[in-house]
């Protein structure tokens, strides 16, 4: 048993190495980074973080990203809930085809959509707004949310619905006060995945924004090219992008495994 637990430990060590490297680099001066390899920061400095938190173009990158990711998560879950309910409870004309068509959108390469998305959102006047990125990310997040929620809803016995109707509940009252609280683990998992995929996706987010809603990634590339190789600053910015994800995953840690298992193909 003890020998077996060596495998996950080694794997986690392998995962943590580059992350440790990034974090330790963010506390070094650029000179020290370029001078050569060192495992720990020799002259510990918070300069890179200070630079980020005092420069609006930097910290607005984070705020913009958080705004569109939150918008996207709310929209995706709000529309996916009734749809997932329909897929889990009723059979209707074209339900299987519709479900498969939704999933095919998960397969579309983002690179294919970059240019048409730019044209589409420019023509409806939404270019460079948070809502444009939030809507664009719905392309792959709504199918995923429907998929996960449907799995959780199938696990709720139909008797629950019937009892509620017998007791005189209207559909929406039953849905919002009884049904959704029953699958709140599922809603949490689905929200986690929407957050995750919207947070990490950068190609579309960059294509659809210029100044007002620019994500943190775009700020990072600009800095990398204009100010030469400011590695310390880049490392600090990178470290800060890990934190929101780490916070969110902490809240759903007990449900992640379950959320995966209940999905259906």
């Amino acid at each position: 048993m003890r020998k077996r637990s060596l495998i996950p430990i080694l794997y986690i060590l392998f995962l943590m190495l580059p992350i440790y490297w990034l974090v330790s680099m963010s506390f070094k001066t650029t000179n020290e980074i370029l001078a050569g390899f060192s495992l720990f920061p020799q002259t510990f400095t918070l300069d890179s973080y200070v630079a980020i938190f005092t420069d609006p173009t930097w910290y607005w990158g984070y705020i913009n990203s958080i705004i569109y990711v939150t918008l996207n998560t709310v929209i995706s879950i709000a529309v996916a809930l009734p749809a997932a309910y329909a897929f889990s409870r009723y059979s209707f004309l074209g339900d299987k085809q519709l479900f498969f068509w939704l999933l095919t959108n998960r397969m579309a390469p983002a690179a294919v959509f970059a240019l048409p998305f730019f044209q589409l959102y420019s023509s409806v006047g939404l270019f460079d707004t948070h809502i444009a990125v939030a809507l664009a990310h719905c392309l792959f997040n709504i199918p995923l949310a429907v998929w996960i929620l449907e799995g959780f809803m199938r696990g709720v016995p139909k008797e629950l619905d019937e009892t509620a109707y017998v007791d005189g509940y209207s559909f929406w009252r039953f849905f919002t006060t009884i049904f959704i609280p029953n699958i709140k683990a599922g809603v949490g998992v689905a929200a986690f995945f929407c957050f995750m995929f919207s947070w990490v996706e950068m190609l579309l987010a960059k294509t659809l924004t210029a100044v007002e809603a620019k994500p943190i990634a775009a700020t990072m590339t600009r800095t990398a090219s204009s100010a030469g190789y400011e590695l310390g600053l880049l490392a600090a910015a990178g470290t800060l992008t890990i934190i929101p994800g780490a916070i969110v995953i902490y809240f759903v840690r007990n449900y992640i495994a379950k959320g995966f298992a209940l999905g259906r193909v």
Binding site: I33, R89, L98, A111, P116, C138, M220, T241, K258, F260
Partner: protein, 287 residues
């Protein structure tokens, strides 16, 4: 048993409208471009299927497609068995389970361009940890900006680092759903660890593994940001995968017609292979 109810369409309608807005209009734009030629000024000429023929015959497309298949093949053959092995050796319950899961999921939550940038610096000779370790400790000549093999190894290791946890989490979810009684029965029958894996654990993991393989196929086949930031497709064209080549043609050279035709071929291949995987892996269930 599901009830037949056509009114359920009203529940699906918001999803349908939102996804259709994002999927159908852009894809029709692409189809539109793929059959026309433009010299700017929004003047278009009917081109028919010429672009498709030209793309399919071009050496450049075939080379990028070959690299893409090689990349995806290597990713699947490394990440899937590795993920299963790690999931099998994880504890079933206790304090360490959530800790392991959170740490393992961490790489998946880092924005993709940060992943690329991080590995780029990590692999720099002299400066980065990996570059330093390879060159100065092991004495191997390792520089991914010069050596195509080093660039390939770095990209593969980066993806293994980034995505193996997805396979681990899915397999683990399948494993913990197996009741203890199954293992007790196997013990009484004196089944070897391999037999337990082959006849109890593997069948129980089948659904989640299908999802894992499908997701890993789709995402590795469509990969763009990480290798683009890591190597920029180089040295030369050695790591120019399909998406990178596509963006080069569409946004770099602004050849909209060929880029659109290439997009559609690309999408069609992804759909076809996903469908093949899906049918092959779920074939036994139907019988």
């Amino acid at each position: 048993m599901k009830t037949e109810n056509q009114k359920a369409w009203f529940f699906v309608l918001p999803v349908l409208l939102l996804v259709a807005f994002n999927a159908l209009i852009p894809i029709m734009t692409v189809v539109n471009y793929s059959v026309q030629e433009t010299f700017g000024n929004n003047v278009f000429f009917w081109q028919g299927l010429d672009w498709f023929e030209q793309i399919l015959r071009s050496d450049r497309f075939q080379a990028a497609l070959g690299r893409q298949f090689l990349f995806t093949f290597l990713i699947l053959i490394i990440e899937v068995p590795l993920g299963i092995i790690i999931a099998l050796s994880m504890p079933k319950k206790g304090f360490w389970v959530p800790v392991c899961l959170v740490l393992m999921a961490l790489p998946m939550l880092i924005p993709w361009n940060v992943v690329g940038a991080m590995w780029n610096i990590f692999a720099l000779p002299k400066v980065g940890m990996l570059g330093y370790f390879m060159n100065d400790v092991l004495g191997v000549n390792y520089d991914m900006t010069q050596d195509p093999l080093a660039a390939w190894i770095t990209i593969i290791v980066m993806d293994v680092w980034h995505w193996t946890s997805l396979v681990v989490l899915l397999s683990y979810a399948g494993l913990v759903s197996i009741p203890d009684a199954y293992y007790q029965a196997a013990k009484i029958d004196g089944a070897s660890p391999w037999k337990v894996f082959r006849y109890i654990q593997l069948p129980k993991m089948k659904t989640v593994l299908t999802i894992a393989i499908l997701l890993r196929f789709m995402d590795s086949f469509n990969i763009y940001t990480e290798p683009f930031v890591l190597t920029g497709g180089g040295p030369g064209n050695s790591t120019t995968l399909l998406s990178i080549d596509l963006v080069k043609i569409a946004l770099g050279q602004f050849d909209l017609g060929p880029a659109a035709a290439m997009s559609l071929i690309y999408f069609a291949i992804t759909l076809l292979v996903s469908w093949l995987f899906y049918t092959l892996m779920t074939k036994d269930d139907a019988q």
